[in-house]
């Protein structure tokens, strides 16, 4: 008899004794599931006990065996509506009205000396199990599914009859897999009825195919149980190997997802630079500060909307997208007209002047909003995550990936399919010829720079969801952004995409091996080495006119 079995038996015994109901047969047959349901014992007796162990045991039995009114009582208990009176009667209070819990009949007046049935963690655990059991038999489709999953993840052989009953009654197809999983897990858990090697091996196969850490834990415990049949234990060990391999694969996939999500942030931050630096050849060291302005614009939009129309606050993020684009685009055009145009053809001076501008912008934001982080809320619809196979996809990161893709598509569209894009390319390729053909090059310069800056603002909206919004925000992105653009090959948006994703996934791949910071350092050094060997990046433009 395993340690746990003994504990459970003792517990039940204790509960029964304390409840003052003699049930020797139950206490002796340590295997509760085989006890007959027609026991004359009051199924609710344990609930009146002042001891948590007894309450928990009673709850467990209610869940496994059921009783008239069981569901109502369990619900009342979890809602703190269950009371026990001096006379040992159980009552449910709904507002000011009372009902007898055992019968469901209303009582006229408040019972004398009623005290609430208390709960602790153990009771709450038993309650959740029991309610899952009840939900499995009586809930709607979603509740039944959740209940089945819960029972599979916390297998308790005591609940086996419930699962068997659910399997035996007609049920929807989606419920079958979790039910089979729950049943298999219960069969292999300590305290399960002896079912023979064949049934156990079948259960092992079910769990192996289900996979996951919970199934693995059940199998591991089973494999370690020397009382279990040798063949089934061997199958369990093999199943564990299979599950481990699958878990490693999913973990790898998860790392790749994190990497792609990091890459998307890099892509967003670098895309504006790919326009201003890649297409126009302007070294804008204040690019990071434009991202920062975008994040602060998001903050202000959210704050304003919350003040003006609190009901719409959840939509402040979509609203911030065009606002940030316009604000940062306008700021960019201002920068181009007011500063950069005087420095065309002098890239290194442009670098210094825009660095100076970045200092001014940082200090200005610091003066206006303070040096500390401002709080940008994540709307409810972006919180949480969903499962994709063994992957946990967090919604905010997923949204950023989609957003990065959308922005990239939009930028490509503007560059390739619009008159502005055509003029842009004409001006960058041959400024004088473009001017002779009637293109207002100064206007195109300003608009191009504005576009790049606006995209930086969009990056700011995304970054506000995953990073601290502070005056220093931009500094964290400028070096990475430049590396991404150069690494990918200047003037090549697809190269920028490839570089961002390479750096993102590469960084996440190195992280578990050497740690986050060392991974970042290693990646920086690798990119430096790469650029030194291939100065034109991964996807260089070749040709006679390219040099110098």
């Amino acid at each position: 008899m395993s340690e746990r079995r003994r504990r459970v038996a003792l517990l039940v015994l204790l509960g029964v004794v304390l409840a003052g109901a003699p049930a020797p047969s139950r206490a002796q047959t340590s295997d509760r599931t085989t006890s007959d349901a027609a026991s004359p014992v009051d199924p609710f007796a344990g609930l009146t006990s002042p001891h948590f162990e007894a309450i928990a045991a009673a709850v467990g039995r209610l869940g496994a065996e059921g009783a008239p009114q069981a569901q109502a009582v369990l619900r009342a208990l979890s809602a703190h509506h269950l009371f026990v009176a001096e006379d040992g009667g159980l009552y449910v209070r709904e507002g000011e009205s009372w009902t007898d819990a055992r019968t469901g009949a209303p009582v006229a007046s408040a019972p004398a000396g009623a005290r609430m049935v208390r709960e602790n963690n153990r009771v709450r655990g038993a309650l959740a199990q029991a309610m899952a059991g009840q939900a499995l038999l009586g809930g709607d489709a979603a509740a039944r599914r959740d209940a089945a999953v819960r029972l599979a993840d916390h297998p308790d052989p005591a609940m086996l009859p419930v699962v068997e009953r659910a399997l035996a009654t007609p049920h929807e197809a989606g419920l079958d897999v979790p039910l089979q999983r729950a049943r298999a897990a219960m069969l292999l858990s300590p305290g399960a009825p002896t079912t023979g090697e064949q049934a156990q091996s079948a259960a092992v196969r079910v769990l192996r195919d289900a996979g996951g850490l919970d199934a693995r834990a059940v199998l591991a415990r089973f494999a370690a149980d020397e009382a279990a049949p040798a063949e089934a234990r061997k199958a369990a060990r093999r199943a564990i190997v299979t599950i481990d391999r699958r878990i490693r694969l999913w973990n790898l996939g998860q790392q790749v997802f994190y990497g792609l999500s990091l890459g998307s942030v890099l892509l967003l931050a670098a895309m504006g630079l790919a326009i201003t630096f890649g297409v126009m050849g302007i070294i804008n060291m204040a690019h990071g500060e434009l991202v920062m302005l975008g994040a602060y614009t998001t903050y202000l939009t959210q704050k304003t909307l919350t003040a003006v129309a609190p009901g719409l606050a959840a939509f402040s993020l979509p609203l911030a997208v065009p606002v940030a684009f316009l604000v940062c685009g306008a700021a960019g055009m201002l920068i181009e007209r007011g500063l950069i145009r005087f420095l065309y053809g002098r890239p290194l001076e442009t670098l210094l002047a825009t660095w100076g501008l970045s200092l001014v912008l940082q200090q200005a934001v610091r003066s206006l909003f303070g040096p500390t982080n401002v709080a940008v809320a994540t709307p409810g619809w972006l919180a949480g995550s969903f499962q994709l196979g063994g992957l946990t996809i967090t919604l905010d990161r997923f949204a950023i990936m989609l957003f990065a893709g959308a922005v990239m598509g939009a930028v490509l569209l503007v560059l390739r399919r619009t008159a502005l894009g055509l003029q842009m390319r004409a001006v960058t390729q041959n400024r004088r010829m473009a001017a002779l053909m009637g293109i207002r090059t100064a206007r195109v310069d300003a608009l191009t720079f504005g576009l790049g800056s606006g995209v930086a603002g969009l990056a700011g909206v995304a970054v506000s969801q995953i990073d601290n919004v502070s005056p220093n925000l931009g500094q964290g992105y400028i070096i990475d952004s430049f590396l991404v653009v150069v690494f990918g090959g200047v003037g090549n948006l697809w190269g920028t995409l490839a570089a961002a994703m390479t750096l993102g996934v590469g960084g996440k791949a190195l992280e578990p091996l050497v740690g986050a910071v060392s991974g970042k350092i290693l990646l920086l050094l690798l990119v430096i080495l790469f650029i030194q060997r291939h100065p034109r990046g991964m996807f260089p433009l070749r040709g006679r006119g390219v040099e110098s």
């Binding site: 070749r542 040709g543 006679r544 040099e547």
Partner: protein, 246 residues
């Protein structure tokens, strides 16, 4: 060596992003020969120069100079072998004086460590003075090269080429932007240089080519279209076709 090929290109091809700039080009130059290369824009003249001087590596083909394989050497090594190049746009060191430009060009010291402690010798000063005479820049010796006229810069660059004492000079459009008188003087200068060195001249100006009085190679779409004396070549219907267009 005389009579043997000094420079030889055989089956040379190079392409940029799928565009074949040079297509199976073969060309050979004897020791002491001067050759004019003509051809419409985009014929591959400058790319050919780039290949000879090591700026561009050919995809296929053989490039040999005085027994050396040029495709395995970089620009500096090829320059040290004795090939000098004059660019289409005059390229001199504008922040330096005319004299310093010539000093830097003088054959000899090339290692940066040696230059650290080098002083100008009397022999070097004499060579510079001679070059100043040849290029008629003696009065401007102390002037910053950036302040010279366009023609003077062309001549300074030719002077720098001579300072290198190359066996072979590659000269890209030397008379572009020159007056007629300057053009004729340049032709004289090149003929004079040709007494001791081999020269390849790329030029559009037919008057200038006529004045040089040398053999002509016509390039078209990256390969040789015609070769021979100017009269014969200009009578070639294919050449007329290319130049007058279809």
């Amino acid at each position: 060596m005389s009579g043997e090929a000094l420079l030889e290109l055989r089956g040379v091809s190079v392409s940029f992003d799928g565009f074949r700039a040079i297509n199976d080009l073969s060309l050979s130059l004897r020791q002491g020969e001067m050759r004019a290369i003509v051809g419409p824009n985009g014929a591959g003249k400058t790319t050919m120069m780039d290949i000879i001087t090591g700026k561009t590596r050919p995809d296929t083909g053989v490039v040999r100079f005085a027994g050396h394989d040029l495709t395995k050497r970089d620009e500096a090594a090829i320059a040290r072998l004795g090939i000098g190049r004059k660019f289409q746009k005059p390229t001199v060191f504008e922040a330096l004086s005319v004299r310093d430009n010539l000093l830097l060009s003088l054959k000899g010291l090339r290692s940066p460590f040696a230059l650290l402690f080098a002083r100008e010798t009397a022999e070097e000063a004499g060579r510079i003075d001679a070059l100043l005479e040849t290029t008629r820049l003696a009065p401007h010796a102390r002037v910053q090269a950036g302040g010279l006229s366009h023609g003077q810069k062309q001549w300074l660059e030719i002077g720098m080429l001579l300072g290198q004492e190359p066996q072979l000079l590659l000269v890209d459009e030397p008379v572009a932007g020159m007056t007629d008188a300057e053009t004729m003087a340049t032709a004289d200068l090149l003929r004079d240089i040709n007494r001791t060195r081999s020269i390849v001249v790329v030029e559009h100006d037919m008057e200038f080519v006529r004045a040089l009085g040398v053999g002509v190679t016509v390039l078209h779409e990256g390969s040789v279209l015609a070769e021979g004396a100017l009269e014969a070549v200009s009578a070639d219907p294919r050449v007329i076709d290319v130049y007058l267009g279809r």
